[in-house]
Symmetry: D3
């Protein structure tokens, strides 16, 4: 089975880290490829960044369909372009926020999300609502860390995030923690050990969920909302996106 993990930002160190975490949890028969798009923002910290990461994601999905990819993971906690991607994929396309929240609701009766900047909290709340997970989400907590701080050697991010997770357990009365950024994927086990409670990383969860779906032959329904888009003209620099 071929799974393509798309890090929607263009920061290669983060893509590498995500790829390693994905490979570490993949089943023996699964081939993981982790990519960054050819275009777009270096990190995603706003609706603007998120919207502009989508052309790059769709470019990778369209290529993946040519390459025989069986399933996709969109590895940014805003799950950018998820529904658009599903329209052009046959197999499953899974967002890491989606996978993490679903899994968290089975692990505990409530969770807190610990994320980077406060301005992105609303995006997480919107996703929790969209996926039906709002009832399990006690809080979305920001650490006031820019995304790329997670990539900076010598950064204090690890300590700050662990501390936020610990406080979430107590102050939010949450029973487990969801890591709210793909860049935190390598911290998952360490934080779980430190705080003594389950910590959920969306990258691992999404990889396993994609594997599960492919193995029981579930992909994306082509009836209704996520059917293939109608063919039509595209203008300007987006002309290559025209389907037929």
């Amino acid at each position: 089975m071929k799974l393509k993990i798309i890090n929607p930002n263009t920061t290669q160190s983060m893509t590498d880290k995500i790829g390693q975490c994905a490979a570490a949890v993949a089943a023996p028969g699964t081939r993981i490829s982790a990519v960054s798009p050819r275009m777009g923002p270096a990190s995603i910290e706003s609706h603007y960044d998120e919207a502009l990461s989508v052309p790059g994601i769709l470019d990778e999905i369209l290529a993946g369909e040519q390459e025989g990819v069986d399933g996709y993971v969109i590895a940014c906690f805003g799950d950018p372009g998820l529904y658009a991607a599903r329209e052009v994929a046959r197999g499953p396309v899974i967002g890491i926020a989606e996978a993490a929240m679903h899994m968290a609701s089975v692990v505990g009766s409530s969770f807190s999300v610990v994320t980077t900047l406060a301005r992105t909290c609303n995006i997480a709340w919107h996703l929790a609502e969209r996926y039906g997970m709002k009832r399990f989400c006690n809080n979305v907590r920001a650490c006031d860390l820019p995304v790329l701080e997670l990539e900076r050697p010598g950064s204090d991010a690890r300590r700050i995030i662990t501390e936020a997770c610990r406080r979430a357990l107590v102050e939010d009365r949450s029973e487990c923690i969801v890591l709210g950024c793909a860049g935190m994927t390598d911290l998952c086990d360490e934080i779980a050990d430190a705080i003594g409670a389950p910590v959920i990383d969306g990258v691992s969860c999404a990889v396993k969920l994609a594997e599960a779906m492919v193995s029981v032959r579930l992909g994306t329904s082509k009836r209704g909302d996520w059917a293939r888009p109608l063919p039509k003209a595209y203008a300007g620099m987006l002309a290559p996106y025209a389907l037929n």
Copy 2:
């Protein structure tokens, strides 16, 4: 006051029609400019089209901020890129679905949306939820008309849409109708007369709402969710979108 009406698709005949309807309702002191982006899909009928209309919309907003525009209308019923646009605008940015639904909830205690293709109904439902308008929305009805059929001379669209509106009043027990596509803007008064009930066109409503907000000096709050995005690098063909 300068208002910019952005038709997110690249079909100029629709842009012209939207511009005329906007100008017809604008106050004496309002200057309307209606534009299509330099890039993107000829019509918007899927999540894919919608996502790929956003770079063009943002391009127009960024230009508008240089041109001294006071407020913006995004004239596609999916309100694509609305929150991203707000992050880079100072004044109000209003989606036509947003404006129409808010206005409809004051005109009647319930409404039905009448739109083009069935596959876009979910998009309208998502917006109704996002804006808090789900409780007023009795139904979203599709006419099985592609968007550009509304632009084709000799099309039967007018009759089909009117009939769908009439049925919505009876079958959905709705008290008014929201037109679910910017391309229907010119049909509003005619259908209202034909069915004997209020019909709400998002283009007109959004223009008046933008005027109202500018005149009482309300724009987009720059605290939190819609604050200006952080400066960062953008790669590939999206490099021009880097803010500073």
Copy 3:
């Protein structure tokens, strides 16, 4: 266009203030008349006061229909009698809480209401729910000020309200503020300047929304919930309210 602004309490100084604020934002062609009813409470601070303000409001609406009024604003933050008023009006009838909350949801992704007495907070919450705005309302904060304290020269109300608004931004993480009493209408710009964030005054918003609706020929739907009441006998001192 003739707009009638009804202050549902009988305190003339408040009616005058409301009338001035309404006139200041009205378009050139709009004639504003601001009135207090002939009967009812000096201020509205309970369900009891609110219920007993309605006969006076309806009296003014019935008169307005004779006078050729095009649209109405009910200028009390509880929006008393709104649906009853709509049944007897042809044009739009807009409550100031309704207008302010709708407008606030476009200005920011969340708002706090700052109002007078704690006992009225529930009324604001009920309205937020009724209008679909609960999802945007982070908090309703009381200042422990009776309504008429806002009319008392030398009162400390201005300072107390400004302080409550400032705290709402920080503690509720709200992106804009809705003033929860018609008597605060004149404080709007001053508080906005003081706190550096948008402050929304329902009186201005309702005037502009009424103008907008009249100008695009939207009134109150006469199908269903807000159709004209059936003729019938009324007894006792309410006999004059019988319609025919």
Copy 4:
């Protein structure tokens, strides 16, 4: 124990019927008095009628407090003035829609309301939401009968209502029926026998609920929302409503 049953309309035949039904279910020690207010509409079939029934209801509550009444029932399915009444009563004040819906949710896992005119259905839906009962309410069905048709000798109302109840069981898949008008109170047992399923009459339920609350010494909480209104001036013909 003294219970006062207020029929908010001024039609004495309906008041008499309501009083008889109330007396028939009251416990041995309960004294029932059933009254119509001195003012207001002959029947309640709109928001307008409902709003204008409230001064009469409050007049009866204020009198009841002087007369040593222990609890009140407001016997109109719109529960007009319920919260205002609670502010001026010490004991419980119960609306018949409230009592019927609560009881219905214990009798079956879902119910349908069968009421008079279609234009009042929204009022029932609003109450279902307000009381938390929307999740149990499968439908609100109108019979297209004016309220006073229930009082007309020789009317076909009985047959029409029974038929509507029967259809509600099948078409709405409801497990019991709530009668949506105080004027139907005498039909309850007969319809239950005819359709073979529980039928809930709000007048009986409200009487029993009021008795229950008084007997365990529960009244209306005077903290917060339903505390006694502040003293203030009332103008015009409403001057007698000023409290002190």
Copy 5:
């Protein structure tokens, strides 16, 4: 009328206390029997305990149907086995959480539940949702007291619970208190006096609600969800539960 009060745990001192409180509020013609099942946990403080209390409850209901019982109360705040019990009873079966929450929503516009252990708070929240009462429930507060501590002579429970109730009024802004354990039933009046606000005990409320329903001839609807279970084989030690 015969009412059977089932304390789902096997602690006889608690059953006696519950029986006394039930008898104290029962009407003259009501015969109360209070029982503990022949099997099950000594106290109920988890989903596990709750699930394992249900066979004993159903055993008592099945026996009650033979004994001519008219109505049942399940006297544990988790309302264990309520729907299963309804399937095998003809008359009403009422849970004490259900009765208390319904009654509380009439007494005040919001309530707090004060219960024993923190781990049971979620159970109360689930019930509040299931009964439609979540909108009235401001908080569920735990006292960190095991259930049987309420039975221990010399315990400090009374003081701790009273204090929690007092704080709930202030910190949760609740207008009344619901006692979240059947073992608190005897404290109700004392706490109400101490805190000066209504305190609602589910045992009393459920007894009165059962009496009310029986007296107006309302039982459990046998259409749909709570119809009698189909006959079938039961294996092992549960063989006696097979119905026919």
Copy 6:
């Protein structure tokens, strides 16, 4: 990894079928054991049956903890005893309704459940709400087939269920189908082929989800709701359930 699949009813042919389906989708390293409890109902078609299946389920979970089981699946679409089971398990415990609904929400933007008897539809709706999946569930459809009819050779069940699935796609506008009974697990692929849309079987999904969770070292959080129950006495035939 050892997974235990518990069929909560005592019908061995169904247990065998479930075991085969589970084994067919399990990963190479997974050992599946499928069991029926030693006690309980032959099929589960009511709240009563469901409640009485729980002692048997818990018995199997307690044994499984001794046997070194890594994860559990409860293979009845009512997910009986799920939370109680989680309290006594260290690893994940997954209900088949839970697994199927979560997976369905990723496969399509909406689903219909196709189940056996109408009286169990409410149970499915409750679960959809509890898991946050109500927003994706367009309908729960019953086939009017008793559960054991699925086990009867020569039954017409296969045809009836396929037809119900086909109608669900069209009439409910659902994008995929969830099979609402563990006894349908072997029909999944056949129906998917017949109707040309994804069909989701909870047994397969739950097995894959359990594998996924174990492989990323996620179990049941022991903080809060699903912590191990407190030790206490159990009486009567349930005495063996006392934990220590």
